[in-house]
């Protein structure tokens, strides 16, 4: 549907819930403004250490959800009576994880008679750049947003690597996706084979900053393919062989590791750029590129994609750092976008019918 200024004046209070990944998260939004956004792993984002998001928390959603919910409501349980909509992820993800959030949201919705918005997690990443801070400030204002479509979404995380064509809000077409590993997964697995532990993303990104470009290189994945699909299993094997070769030569790891990481990160970025470029050229009506997902924590990727969109004179919408990895504020903003389209459920029987869909796709 087409957005209008009138429509965007609506500022409902939306509760967002996500249990589709390792972290349990709950957030509260007023329109696009984040009032609270809480995670089960209370990471100290800006601390000297202890600030890396644990990608591998134990999945303890059932144990966590009440407490995270309380925090999101700022320990004021009465606040739920002011909530206008409850948005919750129903897919994709691990069935058993999704069930926890869905059950919790349904109970809240029915007990307090609050309309219910089932959300695709990927639609959350797609609109994560539209979140505003509590003062109402952010990257995209209402007027820009209205003029943003058609657009492309580039979503890259540990689980997903995909390009979506957004004709208008609510109308999506997947143009390409990974055929094997997601880009974030390739980071983690290569981190593992370099003995740099897990998760590999932050380490490889940091080490790449210390490396020289072009000293150790990898073939750009899927360069020869005509599709908009991605593939990262080949580069994993190439990295394993390259590392073994260097080790066998007896070169000290500290002599090559930084250049190795630089080369690896550059190949991944290049693979993304090649496909995005192709998608832009094949869809010349697009006005904007929305990006989302934890792999955009890599600043080189974020900036390189930014430069590309600029060269095509497109709007570039990317989320703030705290909304790149999985979080519930983005589920609430997707909820907002659905509410604008009047896509929500109020009847008890309709709400009860919603089931988790582990393989949900845009």
């Amino acid at each position: 549907m087409v957005l209008t200024k009138e429509l965007l004046k609506l500022k409902p209070l939306i509760l967002g819930i996500d249990t589709s990944c390792d972290d349990t998260s709950v957030a509260l939004l007023r329109g696009r403004e984040v009032i609270s956004s809480e995670l089960s792993s209370q990471t100290e984002l800006h601390s000297e250490f202890g600030g890396v998001v644990p990608n591998l928390a134990k999945r303890l959603h059932e144990e966590n959800i009440q407490e995270v919910y309380n925090r999101a409501l700022k320990d004021n349980p009465g606040m739920i009576n002011n909530v206008d909509f409850i948005a919750v992820t129903y897919g994709p993800g691990l069935a058993i994880d999704l069930e926890v959030g869905l059950k919790f949201a349904k109970e809240l919705s029915l007990r307090h008679s609050i309309p219910f918005v089932p959300i695709n997690h990927m639609e959350g990443h797609m609109y994560s750049s539209l979140l505003l801070n509590s003062k109402g400030n952010g990257l995209v204002n209402d007027q820009q947003l209205i003029n943003s479509f058609p657009a492309l979404a580039l979503l890259i995380s540990g689980k997903h690597t995909e390009i979506i064509y957004i004709k208008e809000i609510g109308k999506y077409k997947k143009l390409g996706q990974t055929l094997d590993d997601a880009a974030g997964e390739a980071f983690d697995k290569v981190g593992r084979l370099l003995n740099l532990g897990y998760p590999g993303g932050p380490v490889l990104s940091e080490f790449a900053k210390r490396g020289k470009r072009g000293v150790i290189t990898f073939t750009t994945p899927m360069l020869q393919s005509n599709s908009l699909d991605f593939s990262y299993s080949g580069i994993k094997t190439a990295a394993l062989y390259k590392a073994n070769e260097l080790r066998e030569k007896g070169v000290l790891e500290r002599e090559w590791i930084y250049d190795f990481c630089r080369g690896f990160v550059d190949a991944i970025i290049d693979s993304v750029v090649v496909k995005l470029k192709k998608a832009i050229e094949e869809n010349s009506d697009v006005k904007s590129v929305f990006v989302g997902g934890g792999v955009f924590n890599n600043e080189d990727l974020l900036r390189t994609v930014g430069r590309l969109t600029k060269s095509y004179d497109l709007n570039y919408y990317y989320p703030e750092i705290e909304y790149r990895s999985d979080n519930a504020a983005m589920i609430a903003i997707a909820g907002y976008v659905n509410v604008l389209q009047k896509k929500y459920l109020s009847k008890k029987e309709d709400i009860e019918k919603i089931d988790r869909d582990p393989r949900l796709s845009l």
């Binding site: 601390s47 644990p54 994709p92 691990l94 210390r210 299993s233 393989r359």
Partner: protein, 363 residues
Amino acid sequence: MKRVRLTNSNASEVIQQARKILNEGGLIVYPTETSYGLGVDATNQNALLKLLTYKTFRGSKPVSIAVNDIQMAKKYVHLNEMAENIYKNYLPGPITVISKSLGILKPPVVSKQGTTGVRIPDNKFVLKLIKEFGRPITATSANVSYRSHPYSIDQLLKDLPQKSERLVDLYIDAGQLPKNMPSTILDTTLNTPTILREGKIMFEDAILQSTLLEEKSTNTPLETLQFGEFFTKEYLRDIQGGVVVALSGELGAGKTQFSKGIGKGLGSKDIVTSPTYTIINEYRYGDNILAHVDTWRIMDEDDFHRSGILQHLEKKEIVVIEWADKFYNEIENLCRERNIPMYKILFEYISLERRKITIYGTN
């Protein structure tokens, strides 16, 4: 203000002077390969308090420590496999390694999560100082909170509030330092999904007792996929009561490609991708579900049982498990209790492109 210019000839004297100050709970500003650091005895709570006062507002941010070698680090933190590797290969160097604290150190050199960040600065003077001092010193940048990293004492003094400046007992001035970026922080306490060795041995034992059904060398990912398709048509087609296909092999050895072949062989139209992050992917074929499991990120037996594998087995679905060796004991028990047959498939590297794939039947 005590400011001493560090030269090639006075290093030992400066070290003696700094040692004395540290021993008395004093505060020094010292050069590292990244920027000027602020040092106090990391085991002295009064000295640490002084450091926090110097830094002005810090919230709950923990402070890293500097040691002179891995032996000293091991007295204060637990080094796991990843940490050992980093110490061995990359230190001394501009990396702060976070490990579980052993309980000797106290906040602020321990975080809320019970971890401590440790550095071995790549600076001969500092290493010698710490060695002679015999204990770790703090390794935080000498700037006060929200100010830029200082690369010279003059620059530092320009930004420094009087209150902080008065607390310093000695500035060790090594001139203008190269503008290297701050140390990279590596957290080694996030779980490292390693193969549980016990499971791997059990898997290998089980293979020895199983019937060898097929063996093939493949030269491309496509051939691996086709072999998966062949296996499905040959062995899975008439299965009614559910089956487990247990896959074992290194990163990139072809497990996901083979799984793609299984999906194709069953007639699924869904794109089979790696389930590493989701843990379980589900694909439709006809009215059935193919469950594609990956244990790579599963931490322990509890987490394994929590993942929902059991539900898929109870629905008598075909369950393909990557990294099955990691939880072989659990998988075998589940199969035995429910009388579910299991195929074990081993993926081995022969070269960059070539793989050897061996299929074994039930024991």
